[in-house]
């Protein structure tokens, strides 16, 4: 039943949806991009305020709150992802400002769509019911399909959009099939109810639940671009407007993982057929890491490279995901959440650099990065830091987050998987290093000074600063992500 207090629990998502509508109306009647973006940025304070208020109220998140008959669940996990998505939008609004004005048609719609997509992503982290998860997934995805096609010039963008729609529809169908099987087996769409059925009514050796697991993994596998469901990523990343690509690589991926982890942990799917499930996820993780890293090493287009890099990163996250369902251990989960947070920040930073370069020169190849350190020193420094962090060079946050994930997996007896992941990390140095080398050790293409617009410089500065803070205060951040993970582990028991 409905209680007025439920509205407070819904407030971050609801205010985000209202903000999206408001931005749409502002764009419609004012038609000035600066005003639209300002309204968006200032308006983000409201959902962020609600989410932070929920996070910092003492004792509020000690027990999960359920609203709207258990459809919405507000726990540290949900609030963590809500805040992450709001911050992603904030950084993206800054980073995309000048690029959108130059290269994107329907510039106002671009922001509206991004906000709607983020609303869906927030719901994906905070719903506890299969149908709502599916609808939130579509709310996240459909704006992304349109964003992929918004580039002003080029058939590639239209091609990317069409590919994205078709493959997205297919992945949704597969996911729905998995959900339908789950519903047929348990008689409920509520994840808590499913968790009750799994382990009592459904025992080890039940093939149908394994098929449901695989279908759900495949459906979300498209969202997180895990091999063998990754083939859309490079084409779509390359064809789409660069800010849209950046948004796909962080928001869509984080949302996919948020929902995947929620379904598997809250739905208790890891409790039966654990051996088969471990093998399946391990194979997917190994294939994802290895293919992503090996193919990234031979790319010449930076956006394609980042696509394969994000595929490889999804592989590392899957290692942590496997550790958390294998062990029902909070360490696995807090490592995953920490890794996702660091991945989001570094990827946003790296993409801010790529957007800045594309914005200033129109170049998207690795060659275009040559000597960038002399043409735009601050931009290069930020981008290089993010690239090194993505590669996992020791003092950086990316290194710390990888260590957490790998130790969690090692603790669950997945040492062979960790060894393969470490080998992959070594391979990834090659291509991240190539970009850094091009920026710092190659002769510049032109002897000029590139100007970076204020929005882009601030997004690079923000992400780099966040990266440095996390690097030196990893334990502090882990304390923040820890409760979110602990709670999920508690829900499973």
């Amino acid at each position: 039943m409905f209680h007025v207090s439920d509205l407070y629990l819904l407030a971050p998502e609801a205010s985000m949806a209202i903000l999206a509508l408001a931005v749409m109306m502002v764009d419609l009647f004012v038609k000035r991009r600066l005003v639209t973006v300002t309204v968006g940025l200032v308006g983000l304070i409201v959902p962020l305020g609600f989410a932070i208020a929920q996070a910092v109220t003492p004792g509020f998140l000690a027990t999960p709150h359920r609203a709207f008959s258990g459809v919405l669940v507000i726990d540290p996990y949900a609030v963590f992802f809500e805040i992450v998505f709001i911050l992603i939008v904030a950084v993206m609004l800054l980073a995309s400002y000048s690029y959108v004005g130059k290269y994107v048609k329907a510039d106002g719609e671009f922001y509206t769509l991004m906000l709607f997509s983020a609303t869906g992503a927030m719901f994906m982290a905070s719903t506890n019911e299969l149908i709502t998860i599916y609808i939130s997934l579509e709310l996240t995805s459909i704006p992304l399909y349109i964003m992929a096609g918004l580039l002003r010039t080029g058939e590639r963008s239209a091609e990317a959009a069409v590919k994205y729609v078709l493959l997205g529809a297919m992945s949704s169908a597969i996911l729905l099939y998995g959900f339908a099987l789950l519903y047929g087996l348990t008689g409920t769409t509520d994840l808590a109810g499913i968790a009750r059925s799994v382990g009592t009514g459904i025992q080890d050796g039940n093939v149908l639940i394994l098929i449901a697991d695989v279908l759900i993994l495949a459906g979300f596998g498209f969202k997180i671009s895990a091999v063998p469901f990754h083939m859309w990523a490079p084409d779509i990343y390359e064809g789409s407007p660069t800010p849209a690509t950046a948004f796909f690589s962080v928001a869509s991926k984080a949302a996919g993982f948020a929902a995947l982890i929620r379904v598997f942990m809250s739905g208790g799917l890891g409790q039966v057929n654990l051996t088969s499930l471990t093998i399946i996820i391990a194979i997917i993780a190994i294939a994802t890491m290895t293919l992503g890293n090996l193919v990234a090493a031979v790319q010449t287009n930076v956006k394609r490279l980042m696509a394969y890099s994000s595929i490889a990163q999804a592989g590392y996250i899957l290692v942590g995901f496997l550790a958390s369902i294998a062990g029902k251990h909070p360490d696995g989960n807090s490592a995953v959440l920490f890794f996702i947070l660091v991945y989001v920040i570094t990827n946003l930073g790296a993409f801010s650099g790529i957007i800045a370069l594309a914005n200033a020169t129109g170049g998207e190849r690795i060659e275009d990065f040559k000597g960038l350190a002399k043409r735009a020193p601050l931009l290069s420094a930020g981008t290089a830091l993010c690239m090194l962090s993505l590669a996992g060079i020791p003092p950086m946050a990316g290194f710390v987050s990888k260590v957490f994930i790998f130790t969690a997996a090692w603790g669950e007896g997945l040492s062979w998987l960790v060894v393969i992941a470490l080998l992959n990390t070594a391979v990834s140095l090659v291509y991240y290093g190539r970009i850094v080398k091009a920026m710092y050790f190659d002769a510049p293409l032109k002897e000029d000074h590139l100007t970076t617009p204020i929005g882009l410089s601030s997004s690079i500065a923000l992400t780099t600063a966040a990266l440095v803070v996390i690097t030196f205060a990893a334990s502090l951040v882990l304390e923040l992500t820890g409760p979110a993970a602990n709670l999920l582990a508690f829900l499973v028991k």
Binding site: L21, M24, M25, L28
Partner: protein, 119 residues
Amino acid sequence: MINPAYLYAGILLAAGFIFVIVTMTLVSFLSPHKRTKEKLQTYESGETPIGSAWVQYPLGFYIFALLFVAFDVDIVFIISWAVVFKKLSFFGFFEILIFITVLALGLAYAWRKGVIRWI
């Protein structure tokens, strides 16, 4: 041991296919083929067709179709809401208000973008 019901269903399925194939083949052999001009016309529910069937419609027409779907969905939800209105009372009233507002904003968007101007 296979349930005999499957066997019967299988026989029925095969019989269905065979019946259709046999009758259609027979018809094509037995029926007379006299192609008159009237017979080759496009079937328009008995009316005499005007012009070719390959007429080009304006591409922008899909937007009208989209708007129509918006209103269609509107009606589907409002009717089902009206049926249980008494039970839901104020909660339902505000719910449908939010729903209509969102749709109205969509319409405002389309209007402002000039898509419902007569082509």
